[in-house]
């Protein structure tokens, strides 16, 4: 009898362990059914934007007592957000609503994991209320698979302390590239402290050379995405202007910048000026080492144009969502005037809605945040295609040789065009 009892206990234990394991594996999303509420999950990556969502969600839930919004934050760094999103989408457990960017939009559309939000777009009068370039960036085969929530542009930040010490005048909104070089030279000649540079030129496409390439009439991708424009002398001039500044000793060498980012150098007071996307604003403003002495101006004019690249995030709804109606309602609300105002006032990102763009600049009157929005209408969207991630890596692997002075820009661009065009050919 006793033996039999033991056996039963053992069996029980084994089955409990097995069941426990199985439960651990299948991380099936449990619908919280507290009082018949529907739970909508929102997937995002930026912790800096959670204060806005806390506020917005509280407001939304008050209006919709039967809906419960749950925020899922996954870090962007190292591609973690996308890796997790792709895996959960494949497994059917992706968040109902999630952030998406232009870089991933097309391949996610192809993967069939995004709902067509054309009805929501109509509801919020998307074309009327939102910048055309951003709306189009999320439109494929007449399906609006993403709704632009915010955008980012680039501007020139400077550290007043360094300028004051050197006795050099601050930059202004009407600066040109030539003024930037002249002032950087002046700063250098005035004698900066050891390890402090006038400016920084990392191999960075979005914030540095794409704006000048486009302002100069150069191009990266043709319209049907079959050819790259690296061989165009106008494209090369838009890149060469930054390499020149390294050669003139106005920026640390590319090997220094490969190790320490431009943002880190600016944050440590080691560079007088830096170009930065609007998404860097919260980080700079919360950095106690510099936040009392920094301000910004528009991206310096190049070739008589206002250079800038516009990029931004959007909301998407997961194709496999079990609560399509509620998810769409929530997204529509996030795109409303009310929510866009809240988002802008939080001061972390520029709300995409035309009538809400100014709230970002208004969020901090002490500095010239309008530098980001003044010419946003002239900014060029990031060139994207299905192999964009690979293309950017390829570009970096070649251009870094020119930045380091190992090969001439003309030479590397010739090689780059061949491999890049070949890469484009792999898209079906």
């Amino acid at each position: 009898m006793k033996k039999r009892g033991l056996k039963i206990v053992a069996l029980l234990m084994v089955s409990v362990m097995t069941v426990g394991m199985m439960a651990g594996c299948g991380s099936k999303k449990e619908e919280k059914s507290d009082g018949g509420k529907t739970t909508i999950t929102l997937g995002m990556w930026d912790v800096k934007q959670s204060p806005f969502y806390d506020e917005a969600i509280a407001a939304y839930e008050a209006e919709h007592p039967d809906v419960n919004i749950e925020v899922q934050i996954t870090p962007y760094k190292g591609g973690e957000y996308w890796t997790k999103l792709e895996a959960s989408a494949a497994g059917g457990t992706a968040p109902d609503v999630f952030w998406i960017n232009v870089l991933h939009a097309e391949s996610y559309f192809d993967g069939g994991i995004l709902k067509d939000l054309s009805d929501v777009a109509e509801e919020v009068a998307l074309e009327e209320n939102y910048p055309e370039a951003l709306v189009e960036a999320y439109n494929f085969s007449d399906q609006q698979i993403g709704l632009p929530k915010d955008f980012d542009t680039n501007a020139l930040w400077y550290n007043k302390d360094i300028f004051d010490k050197a006795g050099v005048e601050y930059p202004t909104d009407d600066w040109t590239y030539e003024d930037l070089v002249a002032t950087a030279t002046e700063l250098k000649e005035a004698g900066l402290e050891e390890g402090v540079y006038p400016f920084v030129c990392p191999v960075d496409f979005q914030t540095w050379y794409y704006p000048t390439v486009f302002a100069n009439g150069g191009w990266i991708l043709n319209d049907d995405k079959t050819e790259t424009g690296y061989a165009d002398p106008k494209t090369q001039e838009g890149i060469q202007c930054w390499i020149d500044m390294i050669d003139q000793g106005l920026s640390p060498s590319s090997s220094v910048l490969a190790e320490t980012s431009a943002d880190t150098l600016f944050g440590a007071g080691q560079t007088a000026m830096v170009l930065a996307g609007s998404y860097m604003t919260p980080e700079y403003l919360t950095n106690d080492a510099i936040n009392k002495s920094i301000d910004l101006v528009e991206f310096p004019e190049f070739n008589g144009e206002e250079p800038n690249v516009i990029n931004g995030l959007g909301y998407a709804v997961f194709e496999g969502t079990k609560h399509e109606k509620e998810a769409k309602e929530f997204v529509a609300w996030l795109m409303s005037e009310e929510a866009m105002k809240l988002q802008g006032e939080a001061g972390t990102v520029i709300s995409a809605r035309n009538d809400a763009q100014h709230f970002f600049a208004d969020s901090n009157k002490e500095i010239n945040l309008a530098a980001y929005t003044n010419h946003a209408d002239k900014a060029v969207p990031l060139p994207v295609c299905k192999v964009a991630a690979e293309l950017y890596d390829l570009e970096l692997s070649k251009l870094k040789l020119a930045y380091a002075g190992e090969e001439s820009l003309e030479e590397v661009c010739k090689e780059l065009k061949i491999s890049a065009d070949e890469l484009l050919g792999t898209m079906e």
């Binding site: 056996k7 053992a10 069996l11 084994v14 362990m17 097995t18 394991m21 199985m22 594996c25 591609g79 996308w82 890796t83 792709e86 989408a89 494949a90 391949s107 996610y108 192809d110 993967g111 069939g112 994991i113 390890g195 990392p202 191999v203 590319s254 090997s255 220094v256 910048l257 490969a258 190790e259 320490t260 192999v387 991630a389 690979e390 890596d393 970096l396 692997s397 870094k400 040789l401 380091a404 190992e406």
Partner: protein
């Protein structure tokens, strides 16, 4: 099969088997689910074009053909071999040396053992980050020391000539403690009487080390060798953390696993990445097979 050998199992035996299988079921389920199934799926994926969302389209040997033509594959394989060829022998010699020292009667033995073992229990990513700062060209400790001695500083991790060696140093530093503990356990299994006999016969410590310690420790050394080579071929986190894409040394430090990672997670080409991982598997399999054959010549199982 002959019926003579295969006796019919009694009812009682069958019951025992059932219970035994039930006991290993939790572990077995884990292995089947998390090792065997992904392994098979990976091989299947390597013959497919797999998109970001795991939708597979059969493409036959396309991935393998692409792989053999891909310069990056050969370069990263070369980098990985270089890494293994240096890290494995150096780390084993070092850990053997330290283990032998710590097997003697010295004060504070357990403190030393702990110190040497610490890197093994630290997260590789954290280790890599700290070493990245040490090697930093502008503000790194290493350059500060070199400058203090009037030597010239370098961009250690940015220079293709030095970068891979820096990563090897970190790799050795991380693995020495772990190998040392295993070798130490092996050393403690060696009977003292051998040494006493050898001492009476007039053998010095060096002679004793090569004539007694090494042969008697050979099964342990063999084990350490196999595991070190396998983990050497899988080196990833230190490279990933220490050398960025913008570094001039990126191409000369990229390992096969790193290349696999980029294709799978940066570019969403999971089929191609699967083919690369099959290549890593085959390389490790061949090398391990060679070692299994070769061990008969030098490993002493008495």
């Amino acid at each position: 099969m002959s019926k003579k050998i295969k006796k019919k199992a009694t009812k009682r035996e069958k019951k025992d088997w059932l219970v035994a299988y039930l006991f290993i079921l939790p572990l077995l389920a884990g292995i089947l689910l998390f090792y065997v199934y992904p392994f098979i799926q990976n091989i299947w994926f390597s013959f497919n074009d797999v998109n970001k969302f795991n939708v597979a389209t059969f493409t036959g040997f396309d991935n393998y053909i692409k792989m053999f033509q891909d310069k990056a594959v050969w370069q990263s394989l070369g980098n990985t071999f270089k890494y293994v060829l240096i890290v494995v022998p150096v780390s084993i010699c070092l850990s053997l040396f330290i283990a032998a020292l710590l097997n003697t009667k010295i004060k504070g033995k357990s403190i030393y053992r702990t110190i040497y073992f610490l890197p093994s229990v630290t997260m590789a990513a954290a280790v890599a980050l700290v070493w990245k700062w040490i090697f930093n060209g502008q503000s790194g400790v290493l350059n500060a020391i070199l400058r203090a001695f009037g030597l010239s500083a370098r961009e250690w991790l940015q220079d293709p000539k030095t970068s891979l060696y820096c990563i090897m140093v970190v790799g050795i530093w991380m693995v020495v403690g772990y190998n040392m503990i295993i070798l130490l356990a092996g050393l403690q299994g060696v009977s003292k009487s051998y040494y006493e006999a050898a001492a009476i016969d007039g053998a010095g410590p060096v002679k004793q080390f090569f004539a007694i310690t090494i042969p008697l420790l050979s099964p342990t050394i063999f084990f350490v060798l196999i595991t070190s080579i396998i983990s050497g071929f899988q080196v990833f986190d230190t490279v990933y953390m220490m050398v960025g894409k913008g570094s001039m040394a990126f191409e000369s430090t990229q390992t096969v696993v790193m290349l696999f990672y980029r294709n799978a997670f940066d570019y969403g080409q999971k089929g191609y990445a699967a083919a690369i991982s099959v290549l890593i598997f085959v390389v490790i399999l061949i090398i391990t097979a060679i070692q299994m054959i070769g061990q008969k010549k030098w490993v002493n199982y008495d």
